[in-house]
């Protein structure tokens, strides 16, 4: 089907999913008192004094359908509620936490994907040799490590033992003061990039130093996963007829593997990318909470522990949107990677 039609169709499908996701949480919310749920509707501290009025105004004692509708209308007016955990409107909190998580994701995701694919390919190409065994064991170990345990262990060694070599949080105190000073312009909110743009390299370096451990923690489990999948996919591909044909043509082994086999082997990886995405989001929450890395994951965790409903809801909304967009991108990549697939065929 036509590309534009397809795109519109997929984006429209976003809506029922969002409705489903938010409704699900709404259902769960009913376990809370009206007072707690009222937090969804206010956007300044002063309003907290008038909770009764708010409960009445938004009909928090009414049937769930009406409440849900009221809340939806609210969202369209741009009000996502008040976050008790950080004491600011949810929308503002979201905007302030997004860059941190983005930074983490930008460093970690390519690392995960490329390392996973590279090592998986190497392992399959050298099956049963030393590099294969090492990779397989590393993959199994990595996959069995609890993320939070790894994070804590890393902190214990690199922060505790090496006295603060790789510290938690996003920035040290000194650099923190710098970025909050008036001469520092926040272009993106991401410390590494802002540091470069402001021509303050020490900020960038410090930010990088703080990123090392969280990125490693986030990467290990997910790389292990991709590695194993890539290896088995590659092994299956190497048994195919066109690989033998490629060899019979006299192609150098590197071409056989990197050109002919790998592209076909990557196709199943696309299939699990939805799962990978979920895994990374989970990892972000845990990693940020361990390292006190104040991003969306950290915010979500604090919100959960402190029963901050509006924040949780916002986070859920965000992930749902991200999930659908990721799926869309994956489907488009499918078409590009595998000529046998036509747009819309993967919806089977």
């Amino acid at each position: 089907m036509e590309f534009r039609t397809y795109l519109i169709r997929r984006l429209l499908l976003l809506i029922p999913v969002l409705i489903g996701v938010t409704f699900l949480i709404f259902l769960l919310l009913q376990f809370f008192s009206p007072a707690q749920r009222a937090m969804l509707y206010i956007h300044s501290p002063q309003q907290m004094r008038n909770l009764d009025l708010i409960i009445a105004k938004y009909g928090l004692n009414q049937p769930i359908w009406k409440q849900y509708w009221t809340w939806l209308l609210q969202i369209f007016h741009g009000n996502l509620g008040w976050s008790t955990v950080v004491g600011m409107p949810v929308t503002k909190a979201f905007a302030s936490f997004l860059p941190a998580t983005l930074e983490l994701a930008i460093f970690a995701t390519p690392l995960i994907i490329f390392t996973g694919i590279f090592l998986g390919t190497k392992a399959a190409a050298n099956k049963d040799k030393l590099i294969d065994h090492i990779t397989r064991i590393a993959a199994i170990v990595g996959w069995s490590l609890p993320t939070f345990w790894l994070g804590l262990l890393l902190l214990m060694v690199f922060y505790g033992f090496f006295s603060g070599f790789l510290p938690p949080e996003r920035l040290g105190n000194a650099m923190d003061a710098v970025i909050h000073s008036s001469s520092f312009i926040r272009y993106t909110g991401m410390n590494t990039i802002d540091g470069i743009l402001n021509w303050k390299w020490d900020v960038t370096l410090d930010a990088l130093r703080h990123l090392v451990l969280p990125v490693i923690t986030l990467t290990v489990i997910n790389t292990a996963f991709i590695m194993r999948l890539m290896r088995s996919s590659m092994l299956e591909t190497l048994g195919k007829g066109y690989v033998l044909t490629a060899r019979a043509k006299g192609l150098p082994e590197s071409d056989v593997i990197n050109k002919h086999a790998r592209r076909n082997a990557m196709i199943p990886i696309l299939t699990i990318s939805g799962y990978l995405f979920a895994s990374i989001v989970n990892g972000v929450v845990i990693t940020e909470s361990i390292f006190d890395f104040k991003g969306l994951g950290w915010w979500a965790w604090e919100a959960a522990v402190n029963l901050d409903i509006p924040s949780l809801l916002a986070f859920a909304l965000f992930s749902a949107v991200l999930f659908v967009i990721t799926n869309l991108v994956v489907d488009l990549l499918y078409v590009r990677l595998d000529p046998r697939v036509r747009l819309g065929a993967s919806e089977q």
Binding site: K249, G250, D338, R340
Partner: protein
């Protein structure tokens, strides 16, 4: 006729977890220049392994463990392919010796176009030649477009690059250029020339609308078309030897006929030798000059095609011929079954199923001997006590 391939005492073993399989057991075979040799036998007899061995494409757990495979690589005498280096062997594969596989569907990579796959081999092995052609084309363009001064620097650079390619086609420098994104564009001319050769080849194999098909993907073609593409791929580099492993088995009968006719025509045109592996005696009769009969990892009879059908000497060959159903007759099956590869019978591998087996047959394995001019048989019936090795 001069010899093109001579296989001496080839031994191939597969080390599986269930045990060691002796796939080829001292195979001796000769292929002459410009002849079509049929390699006939039941499934599991080792025909495909023989073909793959010539190309040194036996992968673990299989291993070539003994013997020699002589091939006339440079036109001046036989060289043992098993002793040359891997890069040298790669030069042979796809250019001097090409292979056509059984399943055309799986022989083609689904993510690349037909054009990509056809030109791949050409650009790899005929680089010197197409670089020359590309330079000629470029020269013509430079001469014509004196007015297109804007493009000239680019064109001249490209020409220089192509000259380097022509001078030293397989050098590191060329490989480097192939990999660098912008520099790669200078090599587009090579692809254009390769495309021309590919299209010409497709016309040879009677693929209609060749230029358009070049842009298609394998899954868009029918089985017969795909097999023609695979044959075209094999012919692209004017190989001296083409190994065809059951090229028609997976196709419809009507297409089979077409492909066989095509192969006969190409055989005359291209003057390469053809090793035609099949279990179908009828096709072998159609297309081969000589036929070798294979059983359980060894060759038991070799003769001219007329000879072997009119006068099969080895008991196995006789039974094979008799098993082909003729109109009006009852089909006659061969008693027994193909031996378990892990536990081959001692002596002559066929003796348990042989109606004329003698005592010696279970002890000593017979060797090929010339019984009549050009007619070789490995059987104790014709050799007395002389030759043979104990197994």
């Amino acid at each position: 006729m001069a010899e093109l391939v001579r296989i001496n005492n080839l031994n191939v073993r597969f080390h599986t977890y269930e045990g060691v399989v002796q796939a080829l057991d001292g195979v001796n075979l000769t292929i002459f220049q410009e002849e079509t040799l049929g390699l006939v036998g039941e499934t599991g007899s080792g025909k495909t392994v023989t073909g793959l061995s010539i190309l040194r494409l036996i992968m673990p757990p299989g291993k070539i463990e003994g013997g020699e495979i002589f091939f006339d690589v440079h036109g001046n005498g036989l060289v043992d392919l098993l002793k040359i280096s891997e890069p040298e062997m790669r030069d042979v594969r796809g250019s001097q010796i090409a292979m056509v596989f059984q399943e055309p569907g799986s022989a083609l990579n689904p993510v690349f176009t037909i054009g990509d796959q056809l030109t791949e081999g050409i650009m790899l092995h005929r680089r010197h030649e197409i670089a020359g052609l590309a330079i000629d084309t470029l020269d013509r363009r430079l001469a014509d477009e004196k007015t297109a001064g804007f493009f000239k620097p680019g064109l001249v650079t490209t020409r220089q690059v192509l000259r380097i390619v022509k001078a030293n086609p397989k050098s590191r420098l060329v490989r480097f250029i192939q990999r660098t994104p912008l520099a790669r564009r200078t090599l587009n001319g090579l692809r254009a020339e390769a495309d021309k050769i590919a299209i010409a080849m497709m016309r040879e194999v009677e693929i209609p609308d060749a230029a358009r098909i070049m842009k298609h993907y394998p899954h868009e073609l029918s089985g017969g078309m795909k097999q023609r593409v695979v044959i075209a791929m094999a012919l692209c580099n004017n190989s001296k030897l083409i190994i065809a492993d059951e090229p028609t088995t997976s196709l419809d009968v009507t297409i089979q006929v077409q492909i066989v006719e095509l192969l006969k025509k190409l055989k005359l045109e291209f003057k390469s030798s053809l090793l035609y592996i099949t279990h179908n005696l009828g096709v072998a009769a159609e297309i081969c000059d000589r036929v070798a009969v294979m059983y359980a990892g060894n060759i038991y009879e070799v003769a001219g095609v007329v000879d072997i059908f009119k006068n099969p000497l080895h008991p196995y060959t006789q039974v094979l011929m008799a098993a082909v159903p003729k109109p009006g007759e009852e089909p006659r099956a061969i008693g027994g079954s193909v031996p378990d590869a892990l536990a081959l019978p001692s002596g002559c591998r066929f003796h348990p199923r042989c109606s004329q087996a003698m005592d010696i047959c279970s002890q000593i394995c017979p060797k090929l001997a010339e019984i009549a001019p050009g007619h070789y048989v490995a059987c104790h019936l014709f050799q007395g006590e002389q030759s043979g090795t104990a197994h």
